[in-house]
Symmetry: C2
Subunit: 350 residues, 2 copies
């Protein structure tokens, strides 16, 4: 039997730890997995493009556990009340190849993206950072706010989004977070004097949501939204001036902000900073950029956490793989009388 | 909500049509999809190898539907009562990227492999073929027997397996199939005079389960078991003499029987025969080989059939993707009260 974690299961799980508690644990798992980076099998995602969007598979393995995420990106979905990005993932046992867990990953991807941002900032931002500019108050924004508050100690957030309804939504959701929230009239106003800048917009094409002249010395930029070929958010002048940090270089060169730069533009991978083999921030005035595109190991960490958190207690189980008496007698399984009743699902309303 | 088809669901579905009826429909779906081969996105599978086995993802798309299969291959699994090969698959809507269906594919892969064998034989075997030699009576054997009976009109099967228990199992399962079953004392005895030979053994390494001198003129060989690098079943002398047909050439050159041959060894893809652009069998004395390794489009066909067969009637549904009021308010979904009760699962015992 294979464990299933649906939307309601994940909501319940996050409620038991609190969102900040979950983000802290997830950041610890991501840090632990980035700390053993060379153990992982790494490859660029496998993409299937269409006129409407993209469907991707993102596999990885540490030799003991295997994971993959299915994720789509369809910019036109919101027009029909659907999410631009949804996903689900699977954790499997490398020794047998049997799947252990299927989990929703729409919510989990939002959580892991924010946790990865905070993890990167813990390596790269000035330790005394307390102010975050949040450009773009879409689906990722509240997760960013909570992760930076829980892991970095951010106290003040200045938000800007050209869509006033999106800002309203953010202000309403974040009202109880215990943060000082400031509504800025422009990206420039939000960014001015901020210690950390998160850019997570849905702009299409080559945009320049922020430019180098907006930034104070020592700013750390967390660039989330430039995450596919043809989509960037940072003006090239920032990349010319900053030191850039990435997850997995071959993927980021294609999908990240650095697709604007030459193929030999120098970058540092986050795990190298964690391992101490490459420098992170070298002085208080440096501009650092985390050019985030999302990598399979972060999904692996998220699935591993969910698996660990649900080891005890009631689970939803699926009869995804047959439990056979004789492995050579698969036909006997096909024509056998129904010999198993699925364990009752736990009540949806706990 | 995403439809779920578990082992018991698939058993029930196959019971309603009968296994032969299901294999016939599946062969029709495979033929239809091979008939529009150029419309599909095709790539070699994405494999993750370990000391114990392999885990693969096999995606494809026709521009309207996307599918992938997760499949493992772990030769040591039977020693611990597990299946060597298990799998599950997903069918998704290309326009939105949303998954439509998650299905078990352990049973479904066995069915589609047999249906593909019969489809290939319908193009390549002599039309008057009535006798099948079945070398290897493992998990695939009964499916082969039923597919060749239902689609090709096979009336007699001569079986051989070095494992007498596996032969007993086959004879017991196939007793009611309405076939003349003959237990052969050797592969040579089984093959002598057979119209079609299916080789589906679990031998490891470079084996030569059958050799050219065993074969009568006009034999069609259905080679199932050589399906990964380093594993072959046919002696090279057969390939030197026969005309070889494959699913997707780049994959078969690595995984199939023809890995024994030079990189420019001539092969014909099945879809080309179906399209009439390349010859299939050209005379009654020719030896033809279907070098089967399994391709993503066959899984696509199987998932498409299952989806079509279950359009009406009760379904198992999973809350795999959130149903949001405001696509920008994913956080609101995370912290919302449980607002959905999963539809009751249909009873496992109908």
């Amino acid at each position: 039997m294979t464990q299933f974690i649906g939307i309601e299961d994940l909501k319940r799980l996050v409620r038991t730890t609190g969102t900040k508690g979950f983000l802290k644990q997830l950041t610890d798992y991501i840090r632990a997995d980035f700390g053993r980076w060379p153990e992982f099998e790494k490859s660029a995602r496998v993409a299937s493009h269409s006129a409407k969007g993209v469907i991707e598979l993102m596999p990885t393995s540490d030799g003991t556990l295997y994971s993959f995420k299915y994720v789509n990106g369809h910019p036109g979905n919101p027009a029909s009340g659907k999410l631009t990005v949804t996903g689900f993932g699977v954790l499997a046992d490398v020794a047998t190849g049997y799947p252990l867990l299927i989990s929703e990953m729409t919510l989990l991807t939002a959580l892991r993206t924010a946790a990865t941002s905070a993890f990167a900032a813990s390596l790269l931002a000035r330790p005394e950072s307390r102010t975050l500019a949040l450009i773009g108050t879409g689906a990722q924004s509240e997760f960013q706010a909570l992760a930076f508050q829980a892991i970095i100690g951010i106290e003040e957030i200045r938000v800007y989004d050209p869509d006033p309804l999106a800002v309203e939504k953010f202000m309403a959701n974040a009202a109880g977070f215990g943060l000082r929230l400031i509504r800025a009239g422009s990206a420039r106003e939000a960014v001015a004097g901020a210690d950390i800048v998160t850019v997570a917009t849905a702009v299409k094409g080559r945009a320049a949501v922020i430019t180098a002249d907006m930034l104070s010395p020592g700013t750390h930029i967390n660039a989330i939204g430039g995450d596919c070929p043809g989509k960037t958010e940072l003006h090239r002048d920032i990349l010319e001036r900053a030191r850039v940090f990435v997850e997995f270089t071959p993927q980021t060169r294609v999908e990240g902000e650095i697709q604007q730069m030459e193929a030999d533009y120098p970058v540092t991978e986050l795990w190298e900073v964690l391992a101490g083999s490459r420098f992170g921030r070298t002085d208080a005035d440096e501009i650092t950029v985390f050019d985030s595109v999302g990598f399979a190991i972060e999904d692996f960490s998220a699935l591993r956490l969910v698996h660990d958190l649900t080891r005890s207690g009631p689970k939803h189980m699926l009869d995804l793989v047959p439990d056979v008496a004789d492995p050579k007698n698969l036909y006997g399984e096909l024509v056998s009388e129904p010999h198993r009743v699925l364990p009752a699902r736990t009540p949806e309303i706990a």
